[in-house]
Symmetry: C2
């Protein structure tokens, strides 16, 4: 085992006492999950109508401060609809970070558009507004009422930042750049439920934001997602598009646009209502776990804790450490050693422009994202690793 | 109340004794639904991995006789993936019935293609192979290795019949026509789980078939669907496309094509496993309910029970009656009277070519579908209306 891997195993052992493997992130069902799920089954309303799905939306809106929340089958579906409602059309370009989960890029492709990859900010991992500004100054030119990529001729249609591992992107700076280029902003907040910047919840800065409740997230509905927005018409249209665009009628089947079957089932919303009740406790424990990592890593000169940015409160969905390694093979050697020692550590994502289907897409210079890809390792982060 | 409505209320009163409103179709949870769902939550595996989703697929394959079943979030997602894997591309045409639920047409549009609407067979409501044959003889011309619509110039890429209300389409005749024009067939079997033709399950005749487990179907997973196929490569690719096209690796995030987050969550599969155990009982009771409707309607000269076709066993998902009415307004007057009397009867679907987003699409003459649209009424059909 390398010196770095050996040191990191000691850090992990100190932060995570006890025997047995330590998963990267596990769900925890210790509240009303079974009570609500049973109530849902007993009511007979398990599908696309029922009280839990409306209750889940109301609780999400109240918690995040968004005026509206629309519950859908998963985070990808939420992104697909939100990006589409931002006005993105076939053969246009959507600016997204190269360092993200593949869903961000897939959702752009599901609109018939192409992702255009941007560099990251080194400390918080998300999209870097300053680098975006420089890049747009080089490649954007006015066209019609908007802007296009002068290298491809395609309209620049939207920006989708992603709050990586839960750490908020600098939204005020990003919105300033977006405003100069008349670009609507859809926030991919799949990983950042519970994260705020200046007291405001991620996903509520742009035109809309999207959440995920996949099994690996801070709270889960099995599979699920939501669209957050303060725009009443955006919310109405999102609900319409996610429910086959069916018009109200006592029995006639009238639908007025091509649409989707994306509504979150009531069964999954029942689980979600119970999970949301436990979110404050989960956040408190995850913050304590992050503090333990931060304190222990402060004594390691060759390691740096990936911390929340200034004036923010991260949900610390996944804790991570930045190491001094030269390439992904070196990174993978360390991860292999950690996994063998029972710590289910993981890399960040493969940069989107390396994946075969996105290799031909437009991109900015990506020096920071390329460095983060090979030097950052995600650490076991389940709230259950910290007891009350 | 009109004479017809009054007679039909008497029929319904005789078939469905007891007080209280009679829903069109309600789910029934009377088996292991609690036990499996609780086991799923207790296991912590509620999301896209877990034993129930694999078990659900195995049971579906065994029950239907398909070699492979791939469980997904809903029937629309199943159709989208199956139509895409049939080779349908942007700006091509897919032949589907005008008389179907909007999901069939939406799934074609989700592939970037256009639906091309076909007429129905009058007795069983599904796509009419003879009418299709006549239509293709008029509008299809050879182009490259395949066929195109000579009126639009677009490639004819696939046929998607739908087994309406559970009654099997005449698949042998349809496959013969499809073979002449080298058209792959994807069966929309959303409504026909449990329905067979010549002893063979619907959805297993073509290249692939799709199921739905929405809350209104014969068995439900809350929201859910599945792709059935006997083609191992089709199944492998369907599973890959519905799970973000992620390549196997202990921790690296490698994805090799634009793909989807369409996997059925384990929580919903747990419900589905319990529901499948009760399918034979549900089918038996629905068959008894259909017999009661058939017998009672035989005495009504102005009414005709919509029965299963020869050599088939329908699941009788929804029973229906054909009346003598002149227009949809007359039909709606009757439905209004039935609903007011506590019988939640419904029309068939609005024909797809009438919906604003599909009005410009290609279509065959639709005399039968237009007549069925105004003359057929769906009747309360829950298995729970029949006691053992």
């Amino acid at each position: 085992m390398s010196v770095v891997a050996n040191r990191l195993v000691q850090v992990l052992g100190a932060v995570l006492p006890g025997d047995g493997p330590k998963a990267l992130h596990e769900p925890e069902f210790a509240g009303n999950e079974w009570a609500y799920t049973k109530e849902c089954i007993d009511s007979g309303w398990v599908s696309s109508a029922g009280k839990f799905v409306e209750e889940f939306e109301a609780r999400l809106a109240q918690y995040t401060g968004a005026r509206w929340a629309v519950a859908v089958v998963n985070g990808t579906a939420a992104l697909h609809i939100a990006i589409s409602l931002a006005g993105v059309r076939r053969d246009e370009e959507v600016l997204i970070p190269a360092l993200t989960f593949v869903a961000t890029a897939n959702a752009v492709a599901h609109c018939g558009a192409s992702p255009h990859f941007l560099d990251s900010e080194p400390s918080a991992l998300g999209l870097d507004p300053a680098a975006l500004h420089e890049h747009l100054a080089r490649i954007a030119e006015r066209s019609g009422g908007g802007w296009r990529n002068r290298l491809t001729g395609r309209r620049l249609a939207a920006i989708v930042p992603m709050h990586a591992l839960g750490h908020p992107v600098d939204m005020p700076s990003l919105l300033e750049v977006a405003g100069r280029y008349q670009l609507p902003v859809i926030e991919d907040a799949a990983e950042s439920l519970g994260s705020t910047l200046g007291g405001r919840h991620t996903g509520t800065f742009g035109l809309a934001g999207t959440l995920s409740f996949n099994g690996n997230k801070i709270v889960t509905t099995g599979g699920g997602g939501a669209i957050l927005t303060n725009d009443a018409e955006f919310a109405r249209h999102a609900r319409h598009l996610t429910t086959t665009a069916k018009l109200p009628h006592a029995w006639r089947f009238l639908h007025d646009e091509v649409a989707y079957n994306y509504r979150l089932p009531n069964l999954n919303a029942a689980l979600g209502c119970a999970q949301l009740e436990r979110l404050p406790d989960m956040l408190a424990r995850k913050r304590r776990l992050a503090a333990a990592y931060r304190n222990r890593l402060a004594a390691e000169p060759a390691m740096q804790f990936v911390d929340e940015p200034p004036e923010s409160a991260s949900n610390f969905w996944l804790n991570a450490v930045r190491l001094e390694v030269d390439d992904v093979e070196g990174r993978d050697d360390i991860i292999g050693a950690l996994v063998a020692a029972g710590y289910h550590c993981r890399p960040l994502w493969t940069l989107m422009h390396r994946l075969p289907m996105f290799q031909g897409c437009a991109r900015a210079p990506l020096p920071v994202a390329e460095k983060l890809e090979k030097t950052v390792i995600k650490l076991p982060s389940s709230a259950k690793l910290v007891q009350n």
